[in-house]
Point group: none
Chain length 419, copies 2
């Protein structure tokens, strides 16, 4: 086995210690480093305080080969990371023209004036390698000092993630001789964690030493992660592939994708393959299904559009739901959601019409239809599938679960499966 | 001004460093300590490793008066916190009958057999005060050693929270003469962090010792947090109020709310107050604006509904955008977005029609209209306001920023302000 490569993560900012912001960065970085075989040995969070930050630097270099920092890079007075890195590595701050260009460009794109404070962001420690931040103004800084690799990144999650994915992770893979780890993510929907684990119990117990299984449950779905350990990628991946072949037949109908493909993307891929389109009519999910579908690049190829008839009169005027249905069955009913699905499919001339109507809560429930009661329907040429969901008291959870169930229903319709 | 009471939080467990579990405990504890006037100076996360845990103890007692630990208390081999606390404070582990009773009771309640391993959980360091855990089997341990207060708690969130609320927080309040801290969150939109800081530089520099300012930027908006320190709540809050009065006139038009109120909720509150309604026509934002509005309970009072005309033909058929406009100006144009806003306002008979049309990316850009080019419009009785946005290369960021800018535009229309 190879030498262990050790990393420390340092998060900087009073807002973290005050509990004003949840530090999701350290968690995400831990996952990414673990995934490439780097051992995270410690995480430290310090405030915007000179002594505390310098102590964190000194403590980190004792145990770690790699030190990743986030935060404290803004242009404002309370951001200290950059000047302290310079003094810690005993070098000056110098204007980096390339960095200034990038900051200028960032503001020009937005048609905004560059202030003196902004310009300061282009002044970097002379000992660092400048790493461009394409989605923000605070540049990344890479150091190779005192026998460690140091990387300073902004605290804004999407800026940090882009720097990690585009630069840091590839660079670490190339610099260090990391143990070989192969991960295979298996994404399932329509079955709970405990049922899934019962279903595959025997297979799980029979897993060999060098293949590990992890359950990664999230709202409405369960991901399985198979991890293979070996001395070369070939054996690691084939060990995982072998186990996957044994697993598949047992849970095939619940698997919607492998790897980093969310359900709404998997459904989009299916539609694209079949050259089909979908339109949405959302009452209780309030546009969230459409948002998920359109969050995927190129979704205009299969998403025609959507209607959100939040007021009942709009269910009639925009989707042609009959007044009688609304009167006799109510807005939250199988009949209404079927007419919504048919209506949006015709109005927006799509192959599938996906509809939701329910009581998201926290108020609006009745004895007969309590909060969390949701009807979903998927209309297609020659038929319609519906489902009654009995969800929670939590509005955001209900909206989320409605969307996932609707996507899952759409998927079964596209595949012509029975749920 | 009272002496600052400083705390360090130590989270213990390999599962945290591997990124298998998000450490929500440290975040929650930070909020609770801040709320009672304890200053959190550092958070450290270490694995189930003897040397790392002992180092964390030693480092913590240097800076902190209070050291709170979570995790590493299970009955299994890899849980080291308890034996290490005993050796760190040079004392033995001894059976605590009261603790044994509690563990027994816990298992009897659940009709389960008490194993030898479970019994070990009742053996505690002789120097600790036993703190009963009523909702789990791992007891809390309170030490007063080496000039610090030490509290060890289980990592299971609801067990830790109960120990904190029932014992730790009251005990700390009684032991320490804590300063009173008052926080005021000021939420702004329509101005970037650096412009804001330039605008209020003089005011910021003139802030008194006992009032601190923090910038909390997030995508598309900037929050300011004013924190007042004093001996009683009265003086703390009035010190903050006084500074706020000086600040307000300088940035009034950018302030949309105080405290924990997101922009889409603040806009909803405005509409409710005025008894007005809004309808949305979203192209590039794909339903995200509607999703944000409907994520707020009771939004049906002011949100009529929305249309997502993702295909251009639907901009005509659903919203009455003229074919000529689409042909001559294109879908991403001021003229189109104005007709969308007017159209949705009439079709869905609302007081305001909010529309977006742009190139979210990553593809679909042209030299004239690059990725990130977005037009938004807000139509109202007797007029329309529009804005051209020049955003990023990142699709999800563009969708998010479009929604925030649209909400901000709607807000200025409701208030009858000029941007």
């Amino acid at each position: 086995m190879k030498k262990e490569v050790r990393a420390e993560i340092i998060s900087i900012g009073d807002e973290l210690l005050y509990g004003q912001i949840q530090d999701t960065n350290s968690h995400w970085i831990s996952q990414e480093l673990t995934a490439i075989g780097v051992r995270v040995v410690r995480r430290t969070t310090v405030g915007d305080n000179r002594e505390a930050i310098l102590n964190a630097f000194a403590a980190a270099e004792v145990n770690a080969d790699i030190i990743l920092m986030t935060g404290g890079l803004g242009p404002t007075q309370d951001d200290l990371t950059k000047p302290l890195l310079a003094s810690y590595f005993e070098c000056d701050l110098e204007l980096v023209p390339e960095a200034l260009e990038s900051v200028k460009g960032f503001f020009e794109k937005r048609g905004r004036e560059l202030t003196e404070t902004n310009k300061l962001q282009a002044h970097l420690p002379t000992k660092c390698r400048y790493v461009p931040n394409e989605v923000g103004t605070a540049p990344g800084m890479w150091f190779e000092e005192r026998g460690c690799v140091w990387m300073s990144m902004p605290g804004v999650p999407h800026e940090m993630k882009k720097l990690m994915q585009d630069f840091v992770l590839p660079k670490l893979r190339e610099m260090f001789d990391l143990p070989v780890i192969f991960h295979q993510l298996i994404r399932t929907v329509g079955i709970g964690e405990s049922w899934l684990s019962d279903l595959i119990k025997d297979w799980e117990t029979a897993l060999p030493e060098h293949v590990k299984l992890a359950y990664l449950p999230s709202l409405g779905e369960v991901k399985l992660r198979l991890t293979g350990f070996a001395d070369d990628m070939e054996s690691a991946s084939s060990a995982v592939a072998g186990q996957l072949e044994l697993l598949k037949p047992q849970i095939e109908k619940y698997i919607y994708a492998y790897g980093n493909v969310p359900l709404h993307e998997a459904v989009g891929i299916l539609l694209k393959e079949k050259g089909q389109t979908v339109a949405t009519a959302e009452s209780c999910s309030g546009g969230y299904i459409a948002h998920l579908l359109t969050s995927i690049p190129g979704s205009s190829a299969y998403f025609n559009g959507g209607v959100i008839p939040y007021q009942n009169t709009l269910k009639e005027s925009l989707l042609g739901v009959s007044a009688t249905t609304l009167l006799t069955e109510g807005a939250v009913s199988e009949r209404t959601v079927i007419e919504m699905a048919h209506g949006v499919r015709e109005e927006l001339n799509a192959d599938y019409g996906l509809a939701s109507s329910g009581i998201a809560g926290p108020s609006g429930g009745t004895a007969e239809k309590p909060v969390g009661t949701v009807w979903i329907a998927c209309s297609y040429k020659g038929g319609v599938k519906t489902k009654l969901l009995k969800l929670t008291q939590d509005r955001s959870v209900n909206i989320h679960l409605t969307a996932i169930s609707a996507m899952s229903l759409l998927r079964t319709c596209i595949l012509g499966e029975t749920e």
